[in-house]
């Protein structure tokens, strides 16, 4: 079994962004204030990042498919 093709650096970096936003940075945003529409800041932050997560993956998807197309042409 030969190893799978490595994903592009750009796609990997895009994937790290939501990990930074939702996971490693927890100490920075785990607060109740400022509340937005009455909802605690940490909840608003996470829900916002869920949407951004899809955006990042969409970017990674574009990068990966373009690369595969280029490779197919060679």
């Amino acid at each position: 079994m030969e190893p799978a093709a490595k994903p592009s650096l750009g796609a990997l970096l895009l994937a790290l962004v939501p990990f930074g936003g939702m996971c490693f940075s927890v100490a920075l945003w785990d607060r109740v204030e400022p509340r937005i529409g009455g909802i605690p800041f940490n909840l608003v932050w996470l829900v916002g990042w869920i949407a951004l997560c899809s955006v990042c993956l969409w970017g990674a998807y574009r990068l990966e498919t373009r690369r595969e197309k280029d490779r197919g042409r060679e």
Partner: protein
Amino acid sequence: MSPSAVALTTIFGLVAVGTTIGFLAGMRRKMDLEQWTVGGRGFGVIVVYLLMAGEVYTTFAFLGASGWAYSRGGPTLYVLAYLPLAFVVSFFVLPQLWSVARRFGMQTQPDFFSVRYGDKYLSAFVCIVGVVCLLPYFQLQVTGLGIIVSIASFGGIGRTPAMVISVALLAAFVLASGIRAVAWVSILKDGMMLIAAVAIGVGIPYLYFGGIGPMFTAVTHARPAHLTMPGATKNLGHTWYITTVLLTSMGAYMWPHAFASSFTAKSGDTLRRNAVVMPLYTISLAFIVFAGFSAVLIVPGLANGDLALLTVVRRSFPPWLLGLIGGAGALTAMVPAAILVLTAATLFAKNLWRPIFAPAMADAQVARLARAMVVVLSLVSLWLAIYSSSTLVSLLLLGYAGVTQFFPGVVLGLYWNRASTVGVFAGLVAGIAIATLLILSGRDPYLGWSAGFLGLCANFLIAIVISGLRRYPVHD
């Protein structure tokens, strides 16, 4: 009719509709092993999507996450983070997995280990660990069903008889219909669940506090520390959050059933596109968490947080609505439970019993053994559910600590051709040993770190070091 009769009739009505859809979807197809377990590998984009979404939304999300929001508070936020991140991880693992699965005709998770590492003991070990970890996940669904039926009966039906009824229904459903039926019942289940989540998450704060904002104001005043980490706990702080989110996001697709569900897709591109859209699906979980936080002030002092959501629903809504929400919850337990028990039974028959004890077994016999195992595993989980007092979330985290240990073997196996059988096997055993020892001795989290994550670190380290020491790749 009494309130309990209305609620219970509605629940059983919904379950009956779901089961009928399942039976209809399963009819007119010859039920051989392949058809029963992987739907004959003919699933289109929509069915795969339904199957994967169906696996995401389980009783764990419905009763477990709200229960944790009620009893633990802030640490529950990990649920909102790990699912989207699990799809990020899947973006880089599932398409690659899919293409090797197609090339080598893999059907199950141990098949991957057997093809990549060429060792039947490693794949048998993966199989055993997989089945053992599926049990608490299955038990979680059975416990959830018991809670739903007993609350909807206003205490008229005890939890144990409720669980017995649920398990009997579930086993009958799985035996009669197989994986395709399960995927189609998911439509009903997910539709109902989304409506229920919004109705509860918006309706309950509105009824008692006049809106979601005022509800949070009230909770902040009454329990200032509840909404951030560590909330009502002593040891679930930020380190626990980071290590648990990492563990569970890497582990989500290491569950044997989730792993294999990617094999049913038509192309690797489908799986990538799925990963882009799926995070949005988890936003609805926030509503369930809202309901859990509201319950803190509406029904304080419940001994078991898992009861919080439905207790509030019962107090706030008319019996028919309790029945609809309970019915949605019941389907939300039954669909994943069916997938789980089907996977565990097939793994046992196909990847453990046949290769180790009965190599001459025909496919038809394996199928019969798998069906018998559905009954056996259902009974084991029923017994576990009756005699265990764990909360739903801790049951899930227990399974996660185990299945995530497959992650190094899968990722290194896919991307690094020097990853060796000895290295991966040693890492896996070490990871599981560390996680199990820490959890069973009550040391999870250990110094603030998730025990499963500590096991995973050791696992990765050992697998990489031992594999790196070998001069040549063992397999090519």
